[in-house]
Symmetry: C2
Subunit: 314 residues, 2 copies
């Protein structure tokens, strides 16, 4: 089995995680968290979303956050832009990459942005123009790419047709979103192989959710067919509101732990990342789903203590 | 990639899960849960532990539980027996299999049962004699086989030396316990390949913990090298007390979900198993780590509802 020597980890917690929080996280706290994540070695981050402050008050400080993050060498900040107004703000804030998004199923796209898929795709033209003028890259995200909670199976042609349109706008990189955790190893293999054969030059990032407990299994499957770009969220912040109690994003520190144990380089210092995850959990004020942040790295030594696997001998 | 066509799932919740619960679970409730699990199609279950009722009051009804479970065709009940007294009680209760256990590291064995590994192994002789007289199979379990929380790395020879001794007692099947979640795909590959080459006839079950989020990744790795026996706990009940907040056992319904999605037969009805897991969560009275029990099977349809991946379009 040959795995990639390196993988790119895209941190989405500051956007995908924070946007789900009900209580407003102060701008300086957001910037501090982003800086801690960068300090751990992460160099790709979806840092905010340029949406209407009325619709998503949590993201009302998008410009301030994007401008406030420390710009170290090699850092690339991306942000979600749902429309031309958002793109103009993203340009003002100087993000490196704008992310346009659409769902692979009509039901989910309508539920998410009250548009047909065709309407969403048409809207990208103007965003693409603004991004080009601003010198920002354009990245496409396809939600529910591995299955739709309303429609069930998503055919791979639904995904490739959307990406076809995206590539015509000059988009050279996309994310496949596993929005409600419906990806499985066979589905991952099937969709990724299809897309690579149709779009051999396309850079594909995979955004798995752990909603059904197999987010990292899908990562392992993807690595085995040479995929090497993954999105994740520090401490497992964020997720999907459909299933009460179900987790959402895979945790960045769990992903990095797995990658490192497989001998795959990420450029991330796991101990610093675990510390950042612990900080995020304290800021958020509730237990978050990340596991490695609780147990520590593999060879962490525990003090000699009581029984674990089995009750003591009578 | 060729995966096994079938896999055996060994449910350990009634032993490994319940023993960690502080509040006594009434005997009839335990039996009812075991029966629900059997009703879902599970045919291998570690149903209790014949330990001192003083040391582990939760298991004081071991004989009643083992005798009370409905004996459907093909069912094999096993139980942990730490010593000859436990073995005699297990024989009285008519279990099909007695499980003797020892840790791969001296520190963990001492911490667990206050004995050296050699002392534990010597104690198996008498248990083996009692099991044979009772017509019960004897199964060996090796704790911390993939790493020790006190000593760190565990050499594969530490594990194979123990199994060598076990096979001399007529033991033909063993469990490798990932007691504190230190298994990783390379460690799994390495240890399993070693043991299969040394003991080609040995049946090996794998008992992974999800302490660092990759329990099911290890299952997927193991399947890829032909391993097909896994232990898990309904709803993810039980685990390891070292890391506060960390999960322990992989959840049986998450394991079965993965196996089925990989096209591997288990004989289990996932919907019934999910229902049983929900019942266990209600009985235990707190949120348990299983994911599929919260989100439902892959193609579960949700009613059309609000935004998920991204904030609504402004």
């Amino acid at each position: 089995m040959t795995l990639p020597a390196k993988a790119t980890v895209v941190e989405v917690g500051p956007r995908d995680g924070f946007q789900m929080e009900k209580t407003f996280i102060p701008t300086d706290v957001k910037i501090d968290i982003a800086n801690r994540l960068i300090e751990s070695g992460l160099r790709r981050m979806e840092v905010t979303s340029f949406v209407s402050p009325k619709a998503v008050p949590q993201m009302k400080d998008a410009v301030l956050v994007a401008k406030g993050v420390e710009r170290v060498a090699g850092l690339k900040l991306s942000a979600l832009v749902p429309n031309p107004v958002g793109a103009q703000n993203a340009a003002l804030a100087g993000v490196d990459e704008m992310v346009v998004f659409v769902s692979a199923s009509e039901s989910h796209n309508r539920s998410n942005v009250r548009r047909t898929i065709a309407e969403s795709l048409d809207g990208f033209d103007e965003v693409a123009r603004i991004a080009q003028e601003a010198g920002a890259a354009l990245h496409g995200a396809v939600a529910v790419a591995f299955g739709c909670p309303f429609e069930g199976q998503v055919r791979k042609e639904q995904v490739s047709n959307i990406i076809e349109r995206m590539t015509k706008l000059g988009i050279g990189s996309v994310t496949l979103g596993d929005t409600t955790g419906m990806a499985t190893p066979p589905v991952v293999r099937d969709l990724c192989s299809h897309l690579r054969s149709v779009f051999p030059k396309l850079k594909i990032s995979l955004h798995f959710h752990n909603t059904r407990g197999i987010g990292l299994v899908n990562v392992y499957q993807a690595l085995q067919i040479g995929m090497d770009r993954f999105e994740s969220s520090v401490a497992g912040l964020g997720g999907c509101p459909f299933a009460p109690g179900a987790t959402g994003n895979i945790a960045t520190e769990d992903l990095v732990y797995l990658l490192h144990e497989l001998g795959i380089q990420t450029g991330v210092d796991l101990e610093k990342l675990i510390a950042a995850a612990g900080h995020v959990e304290r800021v958020i004020g509730r237990t978050l789903p990340g596991q490695v942040m609780k147990a520590g790295a593999r060879l962490k030594r525990y003090p000699l203590a009581g029984a674990c696997t089995s009750p003591p001998d009578p």
